[in-house]
């Protein structure tokens, strides 16, 4: 009988009915660290935007936990201000009024048993009053050193335990440790309290439209995949450049550095998605399997001095503004060896990629903010032109622009109009309107909704995290033994050592 309830089957849904959006079921989101930067700038606005797009259930609650002497309405005002300032969609009084009815605040320290008992009773009340149905997501937007005390408290107070037909999930942010050992520890801490399917690691890059489009580009077209291998690809450059310095985040950044902050998670994930084979389907498990195969096949160069580079930004000018050097930033010791720029060369030891280097680089205070994956092709084996005709021609490239200005660029040679034969590089751009910018959901909206729906394809699992550290640890150890990194000019494209690193291979960095 179609009108009877069977779990997992809803008569009003059908795979053919593609226009029907999925709405999260009854649930609450509990944020630890609501007073923090991430919560204000991203999480609370994303929750409002989801509500405004009609994707949150009527039975939704948002619970804040922090060491503030606040009442529910004080917290509601904080959320309101954050939403007003940072939400992507228009502010609607009715949506706000409805959302704010489910807002609660619990005051306390992480070590305070009574506070967690209060949290438990608050969630219980919400189940009764708002019908959140025992489904709760705990978002740990706090420094990772507190993960163990918070998860311990969640366990002790019975909050991590889900009853039949309801779920408890935990969401954590990077950094997922600072090396393999600490990552394992962290995974163990979480794993003792939550089953691995209930742990969601946020890598907001994976929620971005273009990153998902990378999979569409590769696996829905016939045009690119035949070229996507060592027969045609010369090398791959994956860049994430920031124009800002470390700002006020010295406490977080010192001792972490560019490689741990960006390469371990974002760049290695982008590399895995670029290099992986076609998954059998796009469910979480199949995609992860392919990514893991790539990570397992990654090989480091033997000579790390020659094939990696690091640096610290010097005082100077960035985009017309005088800026401090890294060592002059507040709360950074003058002898800090933390790198603010990191570039590494990796190879993937499999048939598809043998001999194709993947160059990964990231840095702060570079010329502009840009992230991209550039697949650079080999030169044509023979050019039936005079050498002077093709002087201006470099390699063909396919560039996936992750941000800003998300889209795809193809670079190829074209004849310059006129009677002479002159071939030069031209580019062809595709950007899907503004839909990748203003109107497309923030990565956080998508990821939070996926957490609430329990859909996991976009979240890295602990195996991947550990494999990434296995790749990075030897490089980090090597750097640690080499003292202070060289300086590089603020507002440029990184240290001279990084240019030398590519020059040694007869290549050069693209100017993104």
């Amino acid at each position: 009988m179609p009108s009877t309830y069977t779990p997992g089957h809803n008569p009003l849904r059908s795979s053919a009915d593609k226009r029907l959006p999925r709405i999260a079921g009854p649930c609450s989101v509990v944020i630890f660290g609501v007073t923090g930067d991430l919560s204000k700038r991203k999480l609370m606005p994303a929750i409002y935007d989801l509500a405004n797009r009609g994707l949150l259930p009527p039975s939704f609650a948002l619970v804040g936990f922090a060491r503030r002497d606040w009442e529910d309405q004080d917290f509601a005002k904080e959320v309101h201000d954050a939403v007003r300032e940072h939400a992507r969609t228009k502010f609607d009084e009715d949506v706000w009024a409805q959302l704010s009815k489910g807002i609660r605040f619990v005051a306390g320290e992480f070590t305070d048993d009574a506070a967690f008992a209060k949290l438990a009773s608050t969630l219980h009340e919400l189940d009764e009053q708002r019908g959140t149905g025992g489904n709760h997501a705990f978002y740990l937007s706090i420094p990772p050193r507190f993960f163990s005390v918070v998860t311990e408290q969640l366990k002790r107070s019975g909050l991590s335990h889900s009853v039949e037909g309801a779920w408890r999930r935990v969401v954590v942010e990077k950094p997922f440790g600072h090396d393999l050992e600490s990552a394992r520890e962290l995974n163990e801490i979480l794993g003792q309290v939550f089953p691995s399917g209930s742990i969601f690691r946020i890598d907001h890059y994976l929620g971005k439209e273009t990153v998902q489009n990378l999979l569409a580009l590769r696996f829905s077209n016939t045009m690119f995949e035949p070229l996507w291998n060592c027969n045609y690809v010369d090398h791959v450059q994956i860049t994430m450049a920031e124009d800002i310095g470390i700002g006020s985040r010295a406490g977080y950044y010192d001792g972490i550095g560019a490689a741990r902050d960006v390469i371990q998670n974002h760049l290695l994930q982008l590399m895995a998605l670029t290099a992986m084979d076609e998954p059998t389907s796009f469910d979480a498990r199949s995609v992860r399997l392919e990514k893991e195969k790539v990570l397992a096949a990654v090989e480091l160069p033997a000579d790390l001095d020659a094939h990696t580079a690091r640096g610290q930004y010097l005082p100077g000018w960035q985009g017309g503004i005088p800026v401090k050097g890294f060592l002059q930033e507040d709360n950074i010791p003058a002898d800090s060896i933390t790198e603010t720029y990191a570039a590494i060369k990796l190879e993937v030891a499999n048939r598809r990629w043998a001999g194709v280097p993947f160059y990964l680089r990231t840095g702060k205070r570079l010329a502009r903010r840009v992230s991209e994956i550039a697949v650079v092709f080999k030169r044509a084996p023979h050019l039936p032109f005079q050498a002077t005709d093709t002087q201006e021609l470099t390699s063909n490239a396919l560039v996936i622009r992750v941000q800003p200005d998300e889209g795809v660029t193809i670079k190829f040679g074209s004849k310059v109009p006129g009677t002479q034969m002159e071939v030069r590089d031209v580019t062809m751009d595709f950007a899907y309107g503004d839909s990748f910018t203003e109107n497309s959901p923030e990565a956080y909206e998508r990821l939070i909704l996926d957490v609430l729906l329990g859909e996991a394809p976009l979240f890295p699992r602990h195996e991947e995290v550990e494999m990434s550290w296995e790749i990075l640890d030897p490089i980090l150890d090597h750097w640690a033994s080499r003292g202070q990194p060289p300086g590089y000019d603020s507002g440029g494209w990184g240290p001279i050592q990084a240019d030398d690193m590519l020059a040694r291979d007869g290549r050069s960095w693209r100017r993104p």
Binding site: S3, N10, R13, S14, G25, D429
Partner: protein
């Protein structure tokens, strides 16, 4: 800025678009489709504007065809704007004067973007058979709005009779938030459903909703007249009580299960811009709409009570909605 060409032809228009594009620095943005709007002078401005603002989501070339039948010599006048304040895409208003009004395809065909999908939209009033219409034939998606017609009952009958793959009705698009809200209520456990009731003004969306619910739930669905606005209440009766969604003002709705736990839900009536943008985001045929139309019972397009507007209140819903005007 709008470039005006009078007494022109398609080839001159095409050259003017491309010149205009080069002058703007050869806009890098690729166009993903051509949208052809067919509307009378009275409706073209609003529709073109709605489409132009959704071109932010879907960069496209918009061709607004405005038939101006009359007696004199056939004449084509065009207004062209490329990537300006009206929107990021290319926008061409085509006034087809006198006997040219009967030959719109001759103007539109040369102006379609190469090898990308074509969508046709009749914002108010449309030919009976879309798929064989000269403009409709060029398009893979054909969008009409039966809500904009005065006699919607006959409009639905006509649509059903001529239904072809790729047809869409914005009356159906309007139902998406309602359908999503209903589906969400059934993601949670419920007792077997025995019947359902749809309260609505007399609009085409109401019989479509009734048909979809009957098809999906396999239970009888009553459609009762109300003062709306639009659909203002839907009740799913189960052996354990009722699941009721009530939307008194066309904005916020309440969800009730078994007369308790009234919760609010954002269920806004949407602008034509939002509707068209939703339609353009999927260019494949809407199978669910087509199936619903094929199941539509043309003898049951009107309310089961003829205008008595007495809502059933055994489910505990507020009856005051019935007294509220649209």
């Amino acid at each position: 800025m709008t470039l005006r060409l009078e007494s022109t032809n398609a080839s001159d228009i095409a050259s003017a678009i491309s010149a205009e594009r080069h002058r703007k620095g050869a806009t890098a943005t690729g166009m993903v489709m051509t949208l052809v709007i067919v509307a009378d002078e009275e409706y073209q401005a609003d529709a073109t504007q709605a489409a132009a603002s959704s071109a932010g989501d879907h960069p496209c070339r918009i061709l607004t065809v405005i038939p101006r039948p009359g007696r004199g010599e056939p004449q084509l006048d065009a207004g062209i704007s490329v990537g300006d304040s009206e929107g990021p895409g290319e926008l061409v208003r085509l006034r087809l004067r006198n006997s040219l009004a009967e030959h719109p395809a001759s103007v539109v065909l040369p102006l379609l973007l190469s090898d990308t999908p074509v969508v046709a939209w009749w914002p108010a009033g449309h030919p009976a058979d879309l798929a064989t219409d000269p403009i409709g034939r060029l398009a893979s998606r054909r969008i009409v709005d039966t809500t904009s017609t005065d006699a919607f009952v006959s409009a639905l009958i006509e649509r059903k009779a001529h239904l072809a793959t790729g047809d869409t009705d914005l009356s159906w698009t309007r139902l998406t938030p309602w359908r999503a809200a209903l589906a969400a209520t059934l993601d949670q456990p419920y007792e077997p459903i025995t019947e359902a009731v749809v309260y609505s003004e007399a609009i085409p969306a109401a019989p479509l909703m009734r048909t979809w619910l009957e098809w999906r739930l396999g239970v009888p669905v009553t459609y009762l007249d109300s003062e709306g606005p639009a659909i203002n209440q839907i009740i799913l009766r189960t052996t354990g009580g009722a699941i009721t969604i009530t939307r008194p003002t066309g904005h916020m709705a309440t969800v009730e299960r078994n007369g308790i736990a009234v919760k609010e839900l954002f269920l806004p009536r949407r602008s034509v811009k939002d509707l068209i943008s939703e339609e353009l985001s999927r260019l494949d045929p809407d199978d669910t709409y087509e199936e619903t139309m094929s199941r539509l019972d043309i003898t049951r397009l009107e309310p089961d009570n003829d205008g008595a507007a007495d809502q059933d209140d055994t489910a505990g819903e507020q009856t005051e909605n019935t007294t509220e005007g649209p």
